[in-house]
């Protein structure tokens, strides 16, 4: 394990928050895309 020294909290917080935001954005993008695809396909099978 690498030693982050006395700034460990700072570095980990920066990485933590950023990755959280990125994962949230990716998750939202993928989920919305899947939802849009499902809605469109449901509409096609109904029609």
């Amino acid at each position: 394990m690498i030693d982050l020294g006395r700034y460990a909290g700072t570095v980990l917080a920066a990485y933590g928050v950023s990755l959280l935001l990125l994962v949230g954005l990716i998750w939202h993008s993928v989920a919305a895309n899947a939802r849009a695809r499902r809605n469109l396909e449901r509409h096609k099978t109904d029609a």
Binding site: L4, S18, S29
Partner: protein, 241 residues
Amino acid sequence: MSLWEYANPAKFMRTTDRVLPWLVVSAAICVTGGLVWGFLTPDDYRQGSTVKIVFLHVPAALMAINIWVMMLVASLIWIIRRHHVSALAAKAAAPIGAVMTLIALITGAIWGQPMWGTWWEWDPRLTSFLILFLFYVGYIALWSAIEDPDSAADLTGVVCLVGSVFALLSRYAVLFWNQGLHQGASLSVQSGERMAATYRHPLYLSMIGFGLLFLALVVIRTRTEIRKRRLAALQAQEARA
């Protein structure tokens, strides 16, 4: 075949269907590679381990600006050539840009805490990013407020144009307002002391990764918008018939 044919929704869907997997894989490799490599770099003699934040902060800040520029170009293409996919791509890019701006702001604040001794400093660069974030928020809010997609595309396009002028204007106004204690641009060639290669190479990889990540996300989100529009269009046609 002309480049403009990619602006056809069906063509866009077909093309991105093939490109997207490669984009996703390469973005994942570059982002993970850049960040892990960056995390393993030795500490800086002045900044200690906080130097590792640069691999998030700088690529995010770079993308925050570039995404706005991409939205401006996409809006111009929509306004001048009326390519519908272009307007939707601008809409799809905005939330990504907002998140990138937020990452740049938050990592900047966290970084600044041990360096400057305060969480928030009204430093010109941080302030400019805060203003940029406000523009992103206004742009996204306008898209979601207008029901008619044609009006929404036109109005957000005009707002993006005017916003670009004022974002630039605000940047210079803020420089005038406070000269700031932010360090110079980390990679700028003019500033005599260049960043050591130990940091530069993972940073480049991280920047490429963020760029690819943006491309992958904007393609996915544009596809989402196209599907939503297609559903709405089919429903509108049935309501009319």
